[in-house]
Symmetry: D3
Subunit: 243 residues, 6 copies
């Protein structure tokens, strides 16, 4: 069955990662995954949460919010349980990507603000948030704030990205847009490293339970999508002059 | 490597489901999974949330909370993001088990209150919560509130249970207790039906990413645990005289 | 006029105090006063509230809450003014029982969570809470945390318990269950020491004002009930091996 | 032992009740009990709380608050548990005074705002609040809003007032000012009708438990104080032209 | 066109400033501007907000609230955006009047509580609040808390007052009462010093835009009103024995 | 004295108004005033606030918020008094521009979210918000939702824009950027119509009081800036094909 936007089942929406969107932030990108646009900004502060004081290690945390009119109808500003759950996921994923002991007693806060929503805002937040973190860490290296001779891959050895997959009309599909997502029988978000290891798997049967074969097919699709996203991330980070 | 409580890697903790704990509730069980004790109560109300008014269908929702001294050190009462995330999971799992159109315009609220915590409180909540829902639905049938000739399996065709699995010291293990859980490199919660279909898979790399082989091993362990839990659920529901 | 459960006007409901219910707590009992069940847990922390810092004395405080389905119909979790008022009463009563200067700079927090409600939850909380505090203090003595040679009666010289009394159908009655309580013209809670001194008297005319003679009759009933409750407390504390 | 302000043990502070303080309110008095000043305003609204809709009866409720600088040092505006507990007491006392079925479907809200605090703010609120309610009810009668031929005593048959008593330096004393109150070993608030019946008795041992003899002595003092307060209330209500 | 209370367009309502209303406060006045009554109390504390710690300078802040029945119909207690906006204005105006570096590390909090509202509560708060601050500063001088030889005019060189003006029925008018205010096409609040300098101008077209000529006419009226208010302030402060 | 960015005292920063930024909104622009970027979105809903029900007229309201990293250092998300005050100003200004009786029973909510802040966010919100409202109203006209033959100027007869002015180093300056704003002795925001009438004037002496001459000079500067802003608004609205 044809996808509404004409994509193939294993095809990502057009991906664009625009670095340096907010001039004040230590790291900032606007990531566009089709019509899903998320502004990801990394802030570095020279303090850590109470439970890490005097531990000599750093921390990464995230906040997630949607602008009221990022959605089809206006959403009220008060954040409910859904938003908190998503920002916990983003924070876990970004922490899994980093060797936080290399940061020293610093906290990186990644704000993910959805300017426009069309499905997949949480995975776009992780994929874009990783680039914002990498920009912020590179800034610490450039200003010689970290231990001598630290390079980016000491802190961020294996990049992290995320994508959604699902079962729609009985078929496994990659990168669900809002319309597909709301009609999917299974919805799964996968966070994976560039080298193909799993960080987080969250699959939910929205309409009917699914079997192991379907799970495997979705994970295969996700792995191929993640490879493309990691390439897009790397391409932005390689263009050092633009950052 | 030996598990701290001497169990084999594929062995559940002792499971006990005590029906009828709270006399006022339409369905109530105290579920004990080792030292994890959760009081699950189902309340039936003749109203539905605003978005379902005049839709002719019912709804199931859940609330989750821990008593302050269910934990090693006292936890403050104000519920944070973690509690909300867990109760959303419980609600989704129980809704997936039921044909809610059979309930009529009724809402079942399942309160899961952790009396004692030793790992796995959310999966115990789902496993016990299912029994509380089944008791409440049976009560509706017994009082002839539902459509004529409705039987329990019309509403609850394929029972649902949940269990945690993880990777500890490199080995896949079933049903992590608190001490193992806090040392696990991967932690996964699996919600499954009695017939072996997946409802929800939530796996998180706490320390290091995991591969597909490890994912498969964990899912196999989960499936075997779920079968035992569903048997325990059924055994309680069969003892109709005690309910 | 006959009481609905057949008791005499001066008769308590069956009382049971089960020690050690929550394994993590420094002191814990499940108290059952008929169908009113309250889980009381005492937590010891090595800190005091701001106003007591560097005063060399300790503090005892209480929190009170009802599980949503402890009641006939489900009660929402958000605590209103009634709960706060009750926990202030419990805290005052337990502080009146103790010589807190003997505790050193420590705070004991007593959580009273109502598992099932059938009238008299606040007095059951005080009666059970006292035992939880005594268990926690005995634990401090056993671990030699208090001043040398301190014995339990140095800290808790005169045990404290509480009971409700009221005027129902014109007759003074002891220990009102929910059904009687909601029909009482006067409702009174009395906190008293084992030696018969008053700690707190809270009498309210729910339907019609009362005279001094009725007040005296209620206080006499309360005194006799308190003596029985203090005996039950003592019996639990004497079985040291079970604690 | 001499009282700090030279009063005898059975002597009230100077009492003044100034009617009509806030021009917009249906009933309003500024009550001064020594240096304790409370502004009591009664608002009549043609609606009742949800639980009374279509019951044909009215309701009386109260709110209590202290201005930040009514106290020796500045108190923050956020109302804690103490304020809620006090306003519940005021509401109960005023409801006990009235036959609310005579009000029709109307709610009277009594705002008690403490302009200056020197002990006894809750009892002054009840004593002044009764006058504000009486003024509001008289206004309903004057405007022919109530059933034909209704007179004030149909609604308010037996006036209500309140006073504090306590044990200071071992002696029972009437109407404690702040300084005495903070040094009292027992503190008791008594709400009573003009005809000498008890509405509410709240006695608390702040420092040491008390016996029945002391309780009786305090109740005797309270009864004599209440008689004087009820006379002051009546005197204001008799001066109809000033209201 | 005649004003409803018979005043001329350039005429203030009767102004009365009663010092020493709340006995506990370091500075306290009840200001009456016609039927608008505001209780202004200044509290001095030996601490400053976090951003001023170790700066050697003081701070002045304000809180503003209306008693529920200060208004024609009862207003609920929860303060909304309007109250916060007003208290920010009051704080700015009072800070502009003072050389806060002379206060040392002290904070003066001015509580403005509206006992009765009839238009102009925010300007009455500023005018009365200034006197309360002056009384508190004089108290610091009298107790030799400030630098040696400090006199009141060192701290408060140019007194500050405020008044409302507006366009009603096409005519500029001074000091709008509630009824006029709600019918005004333009409403403006002006904060000015005794020497005629502007501190704050807030003009809003409620119904139709206004031109520069109207603005000038309103500012002229305001200047004349401020002169009278500053004279009233000074007269109170000169009567040192009453303070 | 030279301005830090080289502008003349009467020169605006570069202004850009990009229509159609958020695809879901009924009206949406990204307005850039130098480095101040505000996303303004207008949402039309077929309901009005409670106080306007059955009045046959519409309403316009605004919400204002800053993204956490729109500022030099990260700002926490919880909105304080300042944000509420600003959104009240924006709402008043936009309501003053419209004949809301022409909207029918509809509410337009304008969300102003600051993506980047460099001074003047509230005036940019008003200037951009007006265009978003005009786009939304034009959409209602195009879809024939309003009364027959309604044209845009029936609803929005006289466009509205806003700009800041101030006194810096003794000189009146137009359109203060953040650095200038924080050093200004007077800061004033002016809301004006395209025809030169005043809607709102808010001038505050941050450091020292100001005279009438300075006020006049600032108002002259503001008028010239507003003319340019209204031209930019009109130019966007004229390019109908892009909207």
């Amino acid at each position: 069955m044809q996808r509404s936007d004409g994509r193939k089942n294993d095809e990502l929406r057009p991906i664009e990662i625009i670095p340096g969107f907010q001039k004040h932030a230590e790291g900032s990108v606007l990531i566009k995954l089709g019509d899903t646009w998320v502004l990801c900004s990394a802030t570095v502060e020279n303090q850590v949460p109470p439970f890490l004081i005097d531990q000599g290690t750093g921390w990464i945390t995230a906040e997630y919010s949607m602008l009221p009119r990022s959605t089809h109808t206006r959403t009220r500003r008060a954040q409910g349980g859904r938003g908190k759950e998503i920002q916990r996921l983003i924070g876990r994923a970004l922490r899994a990507a980093a060797d936080m002991s290399r940061l020293g007693p610093r906290m990186i806060t990644v704000d993910c603000d959805v300017l426009q929503a069309d499905g997949g805002t949480r995975v776009a937040s992780i994929t874009g948030g990783y680039v914002a973190v990498a920009m912020a860490v590179q800034g610490l290296i450039d200003s010689e704030a970290l231990a001598k001779n630290t390079v980016l891959t000491d802190v961020l050895a294996d990049p992290v990205a995320a994508i959604s997959v699902g079962i729609v009309h009985g078929e496994p599909r990659l990168d669900l847009a809002y319309e597909e997502d709301s009609g999917a029988s299974v919805d799964m978000n996968v966070v994976m490293t560039a080298s193909g290891k799993l960080i987080e798997v969250q699959g939910t049967a929205e309409r009917e339970p699914f079997g192991r074969t379907q799970l495997d097919a979705m994970l295969d699709l996700a792995a191929s999508g993640i490879r493309q996203l990691c390439a897009a991330q790397q391409s932005v980070l390689d263009r050092r002059d633009r950052i």
